[in-house]
């Protein structure tokens, strides 16, 4: 384990099940196992990338860490305090330290509030500032995210997607948080604007010493921004490693196929690249397969994978994987070269 003083967030065996109700009286007939027992740490000042396909539970994980969804089981330690054991009031006092940036910059800003009100609201709610001090702080925040402080009196509809996302970031920063969950913050933006927002997030991290959980489905962008990356599939973490370790030597067959499916903007590379294309779709989280949840799509699956849940373990320093076929020496590869490095 890493130095405990350096850990900001520690997630232990976190589970979040959503009930499925049915029948005339709305009885609970099952559960969607959105997050099903995951364990990891986020170090101070780092960006942990969380990738996976839709429905894998990555957004639920982000929300469960911030206690926006109360977890079904497991613990979340923030600066050593177990958030799952706190009352609503105790949580409220913790909230300024942990904030969130949302995917949709259109839906996450109240259209009837001015930008000044949106960005300043957290400060008002927590009774931290009012009057001129509040106005000054909002102006400072807008400058920090690259917006003109005069925009304070304008409304969200007057801004483009990229500018709205900057407003969302300013709001998240207003309480001086140390930890921010970024839930697909750039997915709704155009390519040329994505780069602006990612650069801003990186600059702010450096300037303010922020720690990010960066949730996204775009593997290239996650690789770009993250120090370490966790790969989720059907509510479980399949693999977690340093960025370059994960891409140079992905140990889990799912990670390998995921990386091999990502196109690169290099036509010559694309023409010669080996791909392993997974067949079929992910199973439903309401009825996950027995054994390893990936065995139904895994080309390497053996009998053991169908019956026994693989242990999520640290196979090399800092490289965690949940696969029966992985060992210290590495693992079986479904293709020999997952991502050839171009010159």
């Amino acid at each position: 384990m890493t130095d405990p003083n350096n850990v900001l967030v520690r997630v232990e065996n976190l589970k979040k099940y959503f009930p499925i109700t049915g029948g005339l009286f709305g009885r609970v007939v099952g559960a969607i196992k959105a997050v099903d027992g995951i364990t990891f740490e986020i170090k101070k000042g780092e960006t942990l990338g969380l990738v996976g396909e839709s429905g894998c539970g990555k957004s639920t994980t982000g929300r469960a860490i911030l206690q926006l969804h109360r977890p079904t089981a497991g613990k979340v330690f923030f600066e050593g305090v177990d958030l799952t054991s706190l009352s609503r009031e105790e949580l409220r006092r913790m909230r300024p330290k942990m904030q969130m940036i949302f995917q949709d910059p259109y839906a996450s800003l109240n259209p009837r509030h001015s930008v000044g009100k949106i960005v300043g609201e957290p400060l008002v709610i927590h009774n931290l500032m009012s009057g001129n001090a509040l106005k000054e702080r909002v102006a400072e925040l807008l400058l920090l995210v690259g917006l003109n402080p005069a925009y304070m009196r304008r409304y969200p509809h007057e801004f483009s997607g990229g500018q709205r996302q900057r407003i969302g970031i300013a709001r998240a920063l207003s309480l001086n948080p140390s930890f921010i969950v970024c839930d697909e913050p750039i997915s709704a933006l155009d390519v040329s604007i994505q780069a602006q927002v990612v650069n801003l997030l990186q600059d702010l991290q450096e300037q303010l010493g922020l720690t990010y959980l960066f949730i996204a489905h775009d593997l290239s962008m996650v690789k770009h921004i993250s120090h370490r990356i966790a790969v989720m599939y059907l509510g479980k973490i399949m693999e977690l490693a340093d960025r370059n370790d994960l891409f140079d030597d992905p140990l889990h067959p799912y990670t390998q196929s995921l990386i091999s499916a990502v196109p690169t903007p290099v036509p010559k590379l694309e023409r010669v690249r080996q791909r392993f294309i997974l067949t079929g779709d992910p199973p439903s989280p309401a009825n996950p397969p027995a054994g390893c949840v990936f065995h139904t799509r895994c080309p390497l699956a053996v009998e053991e994978c169908r019956t026994l849940v693989p242990e999520y373990r640290e196979i090399r320093p800092g490289h965690y994987v949940a696969c029966h076929l992985a060992d210290e020496a590495g693992s079986s590869k479904i293709i020999t070269e997952v991502i050839p490095l171009s010159v």
Partner: protein, 334 residues
């Protein structure tokens, strides 16, 4: 290869309450038999409106095709799609030109079975009997990789996953043996592993059936492995068109350079800072008298603010609409 589609100087505008949206401002390009042309642009670049105009799918009002030609070639004959009646266009759509949209769930009829929706087009365009159409539909479902096609014939759209629905849309698009398939962001709503499946399917179908493909996308990475040529659009105009390798290796328009620089690279261990293009795309409500990219362009000089650059030849099989010669590092003389 002979040209199969030729679009000249297409102008499409929308007359809205807020004013006139100048969506497409003089777009010209051609498509050759059997090739894949990728049309790349961000939201509001006019890439989808261009295709909708050609297919006669622009709602009017508010939309209006102001000028231009879109010739569909059939051997030595050519017909202008923009001058056809609605009835003629209905014959072309789903007949000689198939199309696939981004969102399969809103393109499929929820109360008809998948089989009925594919068979409908076969009966309508090819005049097959119901039995013939049914057999052909099952063949098509098999061709696009839907397992157990006989049973799936009777299923409804909600019983299919997103990737499977997109396969159904592709089956409808290729049902009548089209010469052209227009795919508008066909993989954007899909997960990356499913996206790879659909790209592979398109490549296989093109090899087997030989149709030309126009692939509209915002993602330069997706099309790098499947396009023969790439056309980059900005502000309702063509910025640059070039063979795929040339475009990625030596982009000639500053906007293309910016787009490529904004992409993080999976094939690199170093994490360089992304190049961001400052500012935002032009407001299409304002008719421009200068280059639409000028205020975001680091190379812009006097002339860029005085006139609109037209598409000019810039090397073998490529054209660029820019007054600055990136290759020589100085303004172009023409």
């Amino acid at each position: 290869m002979p040209t199969i589609l030729e679009v000249n100087n297409l102008v499409t505008r929308f007359y809205t309450l807020d004013g006139v949206v100048h969506a497409v401002n003089g777009v010209s390009f051609h498509l050759e038999e059997g090739e894949t042309l990728a049309i790349v642009g961000e939201s509001g670049s006019g890439k989808s409106v261009t295709m909708m105009s050609i297919l006669g799918l622009i709602p009017s009002p508010p939309g209006k095709i102001e000028s231009g030609e879109a010739y569909l070639y059939d051997g030595y004959e050519r017909r202008d799609l923009l001058k056809m009646s609605d009835a003629e266009l209905r014959e072309i759509r789903g007949g000689q030109i198939g199309f696939v949209f981004q969102d399969p769930i809103s393109s499929l009829n929820p109360v008809l079975t998948i089989g009925e929706q594919i068979a409908e087009s076969l009966v309508r365009h090819l005049g097959l009997s119901r039995e013939e159409a049914r057999d052909r539909t099952i063949e098509l479902l098999d061709l696009v990789g839907i397992p157990d096609p006989k049973a799936r014939y009777r299923n409804y759209p909600h019983q299919f996953s997103g990737g499977m629905r997109q396969r159904v849309m592709i089956a409808i698009a290729i049902a009548c043996g089209p010469k052209i398939v227009i795919a508008d962001e066909p993989t954007t709503a899909l997960d990356v592993t499913i996206q790879a499946q659909i790209v592979e399917l398109f490549l296989r179908l093109q090899k087997e059936l030989g149709m030309a493909i126009i692939w509209i996308t915002h993602d330069l990475a997706v099309v790098s492995g499947l396009a023969d040529r790439v056309l980059v659009m900005y502000g309702g105009r063509v910025a640059e068109v070039a063979p795929v390798d040339d475009l990625y290796e030596q982009p000639r328009h500053p906007y293309t350079v910016g787009l490529l620089g904004a992409l993080p690279r999976l094939d690199s261990r170093e994490s360089r800072r992304l190049v961001s293009i400052q500012g935002a795309p032009p407001d299409l409500l304002i008719p421009l008298k200068h280059c639409p990219f000028a205020w975001r362009c680091e190379y812009a000089f006097d002339r860029c603010w005085e006139e609109i650059p037209t598409l000019q030849p810039a090397g073998l099989n490529r054209k660029v609409a820019c007054f600055y010669d990136l290759e020589r590092g100085k303004p172009r003389h023409d």
